[in-house]
């Protein structure tokens, strides 16, 4: 249908406003959209809040007092998940991890759908971490794509603690400006999960079974 015809029909219908509901009158439109503030957040301790929230959704959080991911931690993950192949995003923060992985004889490929589909591990950074919900934010324009955090069974996310913000509001409310948005922005809160069979939570139904976040708390 033509846009004009479609919208003309909607306009015609709205020309007579809907009758008021006397039993439950419509509340007034708020001047500002209220924020969903949660008592799960300790505003004085964003790393601690992030850690608690991420663990509550089955992510593993590694807090390190460094600006780089410790080689031991990478070696442990390679060992634990029997990682033979890895795919890395285009973010500069993961370059050092790629070097460590290669040193451990892991085949490391740049991001492509094919490489991500055969990888045992996907490594990315994040543009923000949300402390209230333990969320990491990925932008396709920064990561160079979407699937490094999606197709491999294990997702390793390197997050500098300086990128922690309290909640969704700090990120979403700043993104409305034109030209600011990537083609794909995703808030990732824990690994993939489903409760579709008897509401019993199963991890890793389509996306990663495990999410590891390395929180870099060292200062430069």
């Amino acid at each position: 249908m033509d846009q004009r015809v479609f919208l003309a029909r909607v306009k015609r219908r709205l020309a007579s406003p809907a009758p008021a509901n006397p039993a439950h009158p419509l509340p007034p439109l708020p001047t500002t959209v209220p924020e969903a503030e949660s008592n799960l957040l300790d505003p004085r301790d964003l790393p601690g809040s992030f850690e608690r929230a991420a663990k509550a959704v089955s992510a593993e959080v590694h807090r390190v007092n460094s600006t780089e991911v410790p080689p031991d931690l990478i070696a442990d993950l390679v060992d634990r998940y029997d990682v033979k192949r890895a795919v890395v995003s285009a973010e500069p923060e993961v370059a050092a991890v790629a070097v460590e992985l290669r040193a451990l004889a892991v085949e490391v490929e740049p991001l492509s759908i094919e490489a991500a589909a055969r990888a045992d591990l996907g490594v990315t950074s994040a543009t923000y971490g949300l402390a209230t919900t333990g969320t990491v934010v990925q932008e396709s324009s920064v990561a160079g794509g979407r699937t490094a955090s999606l197709l491999p069974p294990v997702h390793l996310c390197v997050l500098p603690a300086s990128r922690l913000v309290p909640s969704t509001s700090a990120v979403l409310r700043s993104l409305g400006a034109p030209g600011r948005l990537p083609s794909n922005l995703v808030l990732i809160t824990g690994p993939s999960r489903s409760g579709d069979i008897e509401q019993i939570i199963t991890l890793g139904v389509h996306g990663p079974t495990a999410l590891h976040v390395v929180l870099l708390e060292g200062s430069n």
Binding site: A23, R146, T147, G207
Partner: protein, 473 residues
Amino acid sequence: VTAVDPATAHTLAGTTLRERTSQATANVRLRGALARATARFGDHRLAALGTLEDPDNLRRAARAIKADVISRLPELLEQFAGNVTALGGHVFWAADGSEANAYIASVAERVGARTVVKSKSMATEETDLNEALEAVGCHVVETDLGEWIIQLAHHKPSHIIAPAVHLDRYQVAEFLQAEVTDDRVLEAAPAPLAAFARERLRAEFLRADMGISGCNFGVAETGSVVLVTNEGNGRLCTSVPRVHIAVMGMERLLADWNQLDLFVNLLARSGTGQHLSSYTSVITGPRREGEADGPDELHVVILDNGRSEILGTEMQEILSCIRCGACLNVCPVYRQIGGHAYGWVYSGPVGAVLTPLLARAHEEAAELANASTLCGACMEACPVSIPLQDLLLALRRRRAAEANVAERAAWKAWATAWSHPKSFRASMKVASTGRGLGRFAGRAPGLSRWTAGRDAPMPAAKTFHERWRAGEI
């Protein structure tokens, strides 16, 4: 493209609410599954909302905001579509389901799509899109675990966010076992069944030419499509195939990102009781230069399909629904009968309102407004505070206005009689005199349905008025 006849795809036509509810309440397995699921969803919702400073204030604000958006739909839809197009996306305006299906099928034919992967979309359940795509030779695969299960079972969704809630693990195992091509025997437990689904559906994702999604929210100021999922199938459908088509009911719009911030927080907490869903994806245009994945083509189908007819009427607020399913979980009727008894796509209180409005072709739909106790638990649970009980009552009024003359005359006579003390007393006297006949009431014509499941009340030997005057009280 052959239009699919909804009459054959859903159970609404040719059955009555009474028949469908009788069938549902006799199903012990179904009632066990419903009790388990709705209690769990309800508990998680309360726990998640309980961590917020003032959830009722948020719900009030959400109601006012969404009502404002609906009243400004023409300008906001135009802004949304303009932004989608400016980013290189395509917008198709569909007056009804057959227009939407024909457009999507034509895209599938143009790009030579053989395998089409879908993430959960209630709008495409309305339009029976799968059948339309199969008619042009596409292999259509639902990829949400619950949706895949019911696709294999040839069932319709029985809950807005948990489509296979009516099946237990043993039933799921049977349907999935039929998909096993080697000699494996699947264990009837959630983890191994989900692992099998992952393996099978991963292969479908990687070979798919086209991905179809719904749209939880459209954001007008940036032309963004927002998808909220937990399994990651929504991300896969919109990242791997070279074409992505999002189907959006025209009311799913928000004006800006401040509103989106509020609504993603409310949706996750009200739906599954999570603080945020595992994946909240915001898609703004197709893949860009230098990106390793993502669709080259993005289409947004904006669907009317009866929605504009609701505008300007007392039912308008039903268009504020964000499809979280919270009203289902708290509804004393849904909790007993489940989703299929509602006969169409949407169930629970929201379904009882939407179905008569969107599936008006079926005269059977009108009686769904009776599938409610008007207790108001639905409005209390609704993240947008839609006064569902008022809407249900309004639908009953509409139906009563169309009721037959004899019934209306009988009610009117009753109302007149009981408005005057004399005639009220006379009617009470008749009841107590007829006391001896009470035990036959079950066999009386017109009362047999009422007494089939309960005892007829026995009128007292003396009326209250008689005892009062005699000084017995």
